[in-house]
Amino acid sequence: MNKNTLVTFLLFFVIAPVWLMAQPIEMANTLRSEGKIYVVVAILLVIFAGLIGYLFLLDRKITRIEKKLPSKKD
């Protein structure tokens, strides 16, 4: 193993990872800012979407049953 190979090896497998770790890691920071309130909003939106979706399905089900009945009473 000559000197150049050793330097390249060190650069890629020892120094580069350490240097990269020192950098601030880019993540979904908006979700962590302002006391993580966006997380609460996201949770509420999921719950609300679930409930509303359920209500729409229930609505459709009732419409289907209504159509099964004779259209005019008597």
Binding site: I37, Y38, V40, V41, L44, L45, F48, I52, L55, F56, L58, D59, I62, I65, E66, L69, P70, K73, D74
Partner: protein
């Protein structure tokens, strides 16, 4: 209920959840961030009053010109209104615990709201205790008008005449005096409209189920 109204309710409430938590609110002592509960707690009561009012109108119509459909409309609007009222009183208790110091303060607004809900619960007790359908519909229509007339002074008049800690009562300015600034109105009014529409939607589903039930019974009797 028209589909576009259901979509509108969904959009208004989506906006309420996002804007209600993220928009700026006045920085007030004691209430702090709980001021945001205004967008969720108060519309429950607005929704309840609107649904009870619709229920009362159907009861009056029933007495003028009896039909089983009007009775179904009246009872299901009252039923959904009661649900919103119960949610309103429970959310109010949570809010009171952290701003007034205890969940039940014996505050005139709280007591009035609780009595109103009991008056409406009695409406369902009355319905359950009459066997004859026409008699049940007529008696409960009369009682429903009484219940609405009792609710208005209990919730809106008496708390303003005595000392109450609830905003908008007993010389206590409501949020709309100076706290509810224009930024809060931008969220509060859409929130009220959205929650009312959601209440009407749920009531309409209950009514449709009852009408289907009614039709099936008619078919069986033929």
């Amino acid at each position: 209920m028209k589909t576009w109204l259901k979509v509108l309710a969904t959009l208004l409430l989506l906006y309420t959840i996002v804007a209600g938590f993220l928009f700026d609110v006045p920085r007030l002592n004691i209430v702090n961030e709980t001021i945001r509960a205004l967008y969720f707690h108060v519309p429950m009561w607005f929704g309840m009053v609107v649904l009870f009012l619709v229920s009362t109108v159907y009861s009056i119509q029933y007495l003028r010109n009896p039909s089983i459909e009007k009775d179904i409309y009246a009872v299901e609007f009252a039923n959904t209104g009661l649900l919103l009222g119960l949610l309103g009183i429970v959310t109010g208790m949570i809010w009171a615990n952290y701003t007034w110091g205890s969940p039940w303060h014996g505050d005139p607004k709280q007591n009035g709201a609780a009595i109103s809900l009991l008056v409406y619960l009695a409406y369902f007790v009355l319905r359950g205790s009459v066997e004859n359908e026409d008699q049940r519909a007529r008696l409960s229509a009369v009682y429903n008008i009484f219940a609405f007339s009792a609710m208005i002074p209990l919730i809106f008049v008496i708390p303003r005449m005595t000392s109450s800690m609830h905003p908008g009562s007993g010389g206590n300015p409501g949020f709309n005096m100076y706290d509810l600034d224009s930024k809060m109105r931008m969220v509060f009014y859409p929130a009220v409209a959205g929650w009312i529409l959601l209440g009407v939607w749920i009531a309409s589903l209950r009514i449709r189920v009852r009408l289907i039930d009614e039709k099936i019974q008619n078919l069986e009797n033929e």
